[in-house]
């Protein structure tokens, strides 16, 4: 198995001798005729930061709630440390959840909110006090212990919710869209703090999100979900660079897709809307079968003049086009283009220099090309 881009060389999923912490086997959850989770199997390992990513209604939150015990599975099993959780009620499961709404108890102070879970364990008062204080210090809220939730800002409330769910040291922490209510800048900072916290505590986190950049930032592995099924489970770089289907390629980031037939040599795709395309790796598929070439916009090159026909490779994967629209994002510029045959394409160019004058403007012909290594060939 490939382990492209695993952070800090951490890839327990590649080690066949390891037992998963959480094993999900053929899990289904049906609401009437609708299957929110559809025969899903998944292994999650100790210490992983795992992201469930998908469009709304894909079943990611239902999966989280099944693990927490708020929903009863229609079929399948959830095993934690090898123990079937089916008969374990939510209040006995060694997992904790951070709710999207935070679900802080409005009548209790910050301290009492964080202490709530420890009190249920019947720990001595002194020990509870210590652990609550430690936890509040960890989320930098040591001076807010006596306040009520309504006296806090949104970001502070989010930290209280995090502290409350972490203080019991759960085997697995479930985070349901934990940053959905934060503004963009705070969300970015919080993502890095969350990663840092997870690494320091050595806990296993499962986060549900619909924000792909959030999933890419925090997670060791991402499970892309659609209609109750797993589309792909892999580290972020693999999801992005080696998507296993058109659906995943299209869902994660932007992509140019060209349908064609695999050439006899296995390294070219023929009959696409932009002609014959050369790809780097040999494709493991029947020659002449239908395949799709996917190219990320940032891997496209744009040149204002026709490339000189020097070495034969220079004219490969090259097509003439006109600029339709330019989106200037500051760090990037997004070009919407159209080939002479009317095929829409897009390219993203990093604005590395401080351009007062763009090399490629609104009008005039440009030439688009990409190296064979940039092409991803998809068979489904």
């Amino acid at each position: 198995m490939q382990t492209v881009g695993a952070k800090r060389g951490f890839a327990p999923w590649a080690d066949r001798t390891l037992q998963p912490l959480l094993r999900i086997e053929g899990l289904s959850k049906r609401f009437g005729a609708f299957a929110a989770v559809d025969h899903l199997s998944l292994d999650i390992y100790q210490g992983e930061f795992f992201a469930l990513l998908g469009p709304s209604g894909c079943g990611k939150t239902t999966l989280l709630r099944l693990i927490a015990g708020f929903e009863r599975a229609s079929a399948g099993r959830i095993l934690l440390d090898g123990v079937d959780l089916a008969t374990v009620p939510p209040h006995r499961r060694p997992v904790n959840m951070m709710f999207q709404s935070y679900a802080l108890f409005p009548h209790l102070t910050v301290e009492a909110n964080v202490a709530f879970g420890l009190k249920q364990e019947g720990l001595p008062k002194l020990q509870i006090g210590e652990r609550v204080a430690d936890m509040l210090a960890l989320v930098k809220l040591e001076n807010f212990g006596r306040r009520k939730p309504h006296e806090l800002s949104g970001g502070q409330r989010q930290r209280v919710a995090l502290a409350r769910s972490l203080v019991k040291r759960p085997r697995v922490l479930l985070l349901d869209e934990p940053m959905a209510a934060l503004d963009k800048k705070l969300r970015g900072e919080t993502q890095f703090e969350l990663m840092d916290l997870q690494r320091r505590l050595g806990l296993t986190f499962i986060i549900v999100t619909h924000d792909q950049s959030e999933a890419m930032t925090v997670a060791d592995r991402i499970a892309v979900m659609d209609r109750g099924r797993l589309m792909q489970v892999a580290p972020p770089t693999e999801i992005y660079e080696q998507p296993n289907s058109r659906w995943v390629a299209d869902f994660i980031g932007n992509v140019n897709l060209f349908e064609g037939r695999l050439g006899d040599d296995g390294t070219s795709v023929e009959g696409t809307a932009v002609g014959r395309l050369r790809v780097a790796a040999k494709i493991d598929a029947e020659p002449r079968s239908t395949v799709w070439v996917a190219v990320r916009p940032e891997k496209m090159r744009i040149v204002p003049s026709e490339p000189s026909p020097g070495p034969p490779a220079a004219l490969e994967n090259c097509v003439a086009a006109t600029v339709v629209d330019i989106g200037y994002l500051g760090d990037l510029s997004i070009y919407k283009l159209r080939t002479d045959d009317g095929v829409p394409m897009q390219a993203a160019i990093a604005n590395t220099g401080r351009l007062t004058e763009r090399a490629i403007g609104w009008d005039g012909k440009v030439w688009l090309s990409f190296p064979p290594e940039a092409a991803i060939v998809l068979t489904r």
């Binding site: 708020f70 939510p90 709404s101 709530f116």
Partner: protein, 304 residues
């Protein structure tokens, strides 16, 4: 204030003043009249009290009018234990009924919130359904149910729970039955409104943190429904203290609540001043819980 809202239109000012005008005309003025009568003396005349304010007598008339007022009636209330006892009786019945209403109404309201949305609408409708029938008719129906050979006793005899038919009418038990029955919607509705607003995820969070269901009720549900408990309790307690029809029809002459005392003074004894004094003291007794309620409501509003 004036700086921020410089020019209110005539219509806007009118709309704001209508409720105040209403309260002044139909609450403050009648109350002042009752207060005035309570400071007067009984007289065999029309109206049956003196002094009567006489505009034609001018300044001298005004001076005579104020000279004629006295606190004698209030002193009289203190001298006869009848009044004190009927205040105590009223507060006692109101307090116990409110407690019973809470014990019956809370589980009802809680159960309604646990049902699916569509069923909830039907159940809430069922709670307020008795209002479709006249209050008086429902109390007469209870008289029928509770009478010596009425349906309740027949049922008890048929089930062999009692051997001799017990007497229900003209007892405190009958009054309690009538009051609890009549006021139940006023307890259930505010409780339901509060419980229904509670975020489901709070209960899930409690369970997630290791709290079993029954404990979640004590630690989360009950404290968060306190405003509803207070609202329901006051909505029931205050009118029950002054209740007249139920104790009169079901309790007979044996139960003497303050409403009956006022009625007797007004209509049997034709003693308007004493009746008014009893009523004024009652208002003062009831204003206290209303002020407490207002204070609580304001604190609640600040929190939101």
């Amino acid at each position: 204030m004036t700086n921020r809202q410089p020019q209110r239109s005539f219509m806007a000012r009118l709309v704001i003043r209508i409720p105040y005008a209403w309260l002044v005309a139909f609450f403050l003025v009648p109350f002042l009249i009752v207060l005035k009568i309570s400071l007067s003396q009984t007289a065999i005349a029309q109206p049956p009290y003196t002094p009567v304010f006489d505009l034609s007598a001018g300044w001298q008339g005004l001076r005579n009018f104020f000279a004629g007022l006295s606190l004698d009636n209030y002193a009289f209330l203190g001298s006869d234990p009848l009044y004190f006892l009927s205040y105590v009786k009223s507060l006692e019945i109101a307090a116990f009924s409110t407690l019973m209403l809470l014990v019956i109404g809370y589980p009802m309201a809680y159960a309604i919130t646990r049902t699916p949305r569509r069923v909830q609408a039907v159940l809430v409708l069922a709670v307020i359904l008795p209002f479709w029938t006249s209050f008086l008719i429902r109390i007469y129906a209870w008289m029928n149910i509770l009478q010596h050979d009425g349906p309740l006793n027949q049922l008890l005899l048929a089930l062999a729970i009692v051997r001799e038919p017990p007497t229900w009418l003209s007892t405190d038990t009958a009054v309690y039955i009538g009051i609890v029955y009549s006021y139940l919607p006023f307890m259930v509705l505010p409780l339901y409104a509060t419980l229904e607003k509670l975020d489901e995820s709070l209960f899930e969070a409690a369970a997630d943190l290791g709290c079993p269901r029954w404990k979640t009720f004590w630690l989360v549900t009950l404290p968060l429904s306190a405003p509803g408990v207070l609202a329901g309790a006051l909505l029931c307690f205050i009118p029950i203290v002054g209740e007249f029809v139920i104790p009169d029809l079901l309790g007979g002459s044996r139960t003497s609540m303050i409403g009956q005392t006022i009625w007797t003074e007004f209509f049997a004894n034709k003693d308007w001043p004493t009746a008014s004094a009893v009523a004024v003291v009652l208002v003062c007794l009831l204003v206290t819980p209303i002020v407490v309620f207002q204070y609580q409501a304001m604190r609640g509003a600040e929190r939101d």
